[in-house]
Symmetry: C2
Subunit: 477 residues, 2 copies
């Protein structure tokens, strides 16, 4: 199959009809039901068919004994049958006009056992002969809210601008859930597992020219064709920011990757230099990827590295400043003249008015924080502003006004056009989380980047600035 | 005052009577009330007096117009008066047999303004002349549950074995709250602020010989007397593990520290070599400090660096392995013979049986996880076992059994005496937190170290192993 055939995956990402082959009829909590639950929750608008040799009915939908019994052509099949039944399913599909099968089924090459490896080669070969494409096996498939397609019922229904190519289904779910409260929305997510047919390069090439996608994120365990991947990555990184998390960079990690998706991992050095050469933003965890995403999506690029830090807590002020400066951002001292302006209405006891600005003692007094943020925002010595709060440590008087505090920071920051970000430490205690989560969502609804830790904010902003310096440098060259 | 006077701080940590001088009578939410609320909640058993020139009553307790009006000698005064009233309070104290004043009050040298600097020098000089000790100013003072003393009402009431010396009150609160759900309990916490009199070295010397304290943690912004501090640190680190977080290691951070507690910060290089020379465990965030604490307290020291990783999630398996190996821990492959034992009752599809062991597909089947953990624990190729779970990403069938899953890991691990740790990713969503927090507490109640992230677990265990290698190396030399 020639390279040009790989370009257009529209029929796969926007199927007009779907069959769930091998869905369990009896047990509503069986993993195979996840896909039906998700498609129903997302109100998939095409024709939806269920297939199981036992027949019957699920949620009012007829279960067909076989694909052949469906009175219509099918675009897309989600294969939930056991591994040994996979070749038979490919055969069945070829008579029904199916364009692609997504095999969620595991038990193939990733087992490292002869039987699984042979089975995977068999379905790959069979599909190729029949002119079908395979996604997987051993993966979760497609999330494309615009097409009402999802593999998790509780993913956001709104479409966004991020494309995520993930070899792991769990990591795909994790990233969406890590970022959804902070306002990140996805155009398309693909969990592609063992990649016996369609692979990372296919999806990368498609995402690179997909106009709905502004930022590409990737979780890769291994690459099928290094040369082609390099080309695809080069092209994609020229077109839009690409963030890459490489799983399996250590010896043990590579073995884990082989056991997970049968991937050959490649060395750390190769990946490091690849990312540097092509201007890809390299991250080392999903949390870091989440921070980069909110920065790229919600923080207008600051013209430089100088930041004003404004928030609550003396010890917190010291620690956040260390995190920002350690990574190469600058926290310059507030000039005396500007400090005097703030001092006019702010007592010095319990506050620090130097940058960082610890406004703990006066935060609860209506309007003063907004005035201070406004004065600081206009200061020409800085390029962007970061507000920081530990809501769960704040005094009751401040904690009660936390939502207004966010408003005051936002209001104050309007005095200039300087980019604004917020660090809001969330809580893992149910009662505190009830207060903190709405704050996070509120900031996100204002279009602000929200970070969960000092280090996370500093790292993401610095990486994005470096990425831009590199790209704009290239543009000038 | 000679050095020997510094040694015994018992009268300060175990006062028989306390006066809260300057407590607000009218507003129950004023910050000065925090101290009364805490002492009442902790059922402080000594005599407790309230002082405010306005007189009156709070919660059934008489408010005396002045210290002089109290019909008894006072051991310990918590000074809540405005900064300018501080010298007067020191004068008053000297007639009442007071041994120490903790000034919570801010507005002294940390302001960087002439008036505050002068005021701090004045109270210091005055106290020295009158034979009183000062804690602070600008700090939260003492938490000592054994003495029913606290500055936060919601701190744990049980005493533990950690001593925390924190220049910042906010960071003191943060560490206690970060670790309490994971079973960490403190013997004593001291937030000591500007350290105009009693300073980090006094507390360190005292904690080093305090038999209730097994581990010392420190958050330091600056040091008053470098030579003495070095000696105290040397002595303490020989006696028990010392963990140190240095705030203000960057230029901006040092400026922040000066504004926070008036501290002179010292360079990164000096602190780095100091910690290395003395065998102090250096950390860079409170989260890292929390991870080190649970490791020191709850993980029996593994004899080596080889780990078996057992948990749920293929992508998670790859990422946790990378984190462990990247930092110098080893995740060796499971020998075929042991793998065969597990394969007897475990299907290979959807599981990874290589180390890491991803047991996602079979986790929900009663008893199988315990059997697998048992087989792995007996494997001689490893030194310790880490269970890992992302409860919030798990399928419903697994999620419902999460508590039993923890039991199975624990049960299986009893097949050998190998140390066991658990990585349990908490959730910041209220409903999920309701499920995850009890799991964390359950593990802690079993005496297990609980980590919140893959990287956090790997880093803490590696640091503690290195710390021990260093110390046992010294012992042999």
């Amino acid at each position: 199959m020639s390279n040009s055939n790989y370009a257009n995956l529209d029929p796969i990402f926007y199927p007009r009809s779907i069959a769930l082959a091998g869905i369990t009829v009896t047990n509503p909590e069986h993993w195979t039901r996840t896909f039906l639950d998700s498609l129903l929750e997302f109100r998939y608008e095409g024709s939806l068919y269920l297939v199981n040799p036992k027949g019957g009915e699920i949620e009012g939908l007829k279960v067909y004994p076989s694909l052949g019994d469906i009175p219509q052509a099918i675009d897309y099949v989600i294969g939930l049958v056991p591994a040994k039944a996979a070749p038979g399913l490919v055969e069945e599909c070829s008579g029904k006009g199916v364009k692609a099968i997504h095999f969620c089924t595991a038990g193939f090459s990733e087992t490292g056992e002869e039987a699984g490896i042979r089975l995977e080669a068999e379905i790959t070969e069979l599909a190729r002969r029949k002119g079908l494409r395979i996604i997987g096996p051993n993966c979760m498939g497609i999330y494309n809210p615009k097409a009402h397609l999802s593999f998790q019922a509780d993913f956001p229904k709104e479409s966004g601008t991020v494309g995520f190519i993930s070899q792991s289904g769990g990591n795909a779910i994790d990233l969406v859930k890590l970022t959804m409260w902070r306002g990140v929305r996805f155009s398309k997510v693909i969990s592609y597992g063992n990649a016996c047919d369609l692979n990372e390069s296919d999806f990368l090439e498609y995402f690179a020219i997909d106009r709905d996608i502004r930022v590409i994120a990737m979780y890769i365990e291994g690459v099928k064709d290094g040369r082609r991947f390099r080309q695809a990555l080069h092209k994609a990184a020229k077109a839009k920011p690409v963030i890459l998390l490489k799983g399996g960079i250590t010896e043990g990690g590579a073995r884990a990757a082989a056991g997970h998706t049968g991937a050959l991992a490649g060395s750390e050095m190769v990946w490091d230099s690849l990312c540097k050469q092509l201007g890809v933003i390299r991250v080392h965890s999903l949390e870091e990827m989440a921070d980069i995403l909110v920065t790229l999506l919600f923080m207008p690029l600051p013209p430089g590295r100088r930041v004003a830090l404004i928030g609550g807590g003396g010890g917190a002020s010291v620690l956040i400043t260390d995190e920002f400066e350690k990574i190469g951002l600058k926290v310059p001292p507030v000039p005396q003249e500007i400090r005097n302006q703030i001092r006019e209405f702010t007592p010095v006891a319990g506050n620090i008015l130097r940058n960082p600005i610890d406004y703990s003692q006066t935060m609860a007094e209506v309007g003063k924080l907004a005035r201070t943020v406004s004065i600081i925002s206009k200061w020409e010595g800085i390029d962007f502003v970061i507000g920081f709060m530990r809501p769960n440590l704040a005094a009751a008087s401040i904690r009660r006004r936390m939502s207004e505090t966010v408003d005051e920071i936002l209001e104050g920051s309007k005095a200039s056009s300087k980019p604004l970000g917020i660090v809001l430490e969330p809580s893992i205690l149910p009662d505190e989380a009830k207060e903190t989560l709405p704050l996070i969502q509120k900031c996100a609804s204002y279009g602000l980047p929200v970070y969960y830790s000092f280090a996370g904010a500093a790292n993401a902003i610095s990486l994005v600035l470096s990425h831009n310096e590199r790209h704009s440098g290239k543009a000038r060259a």
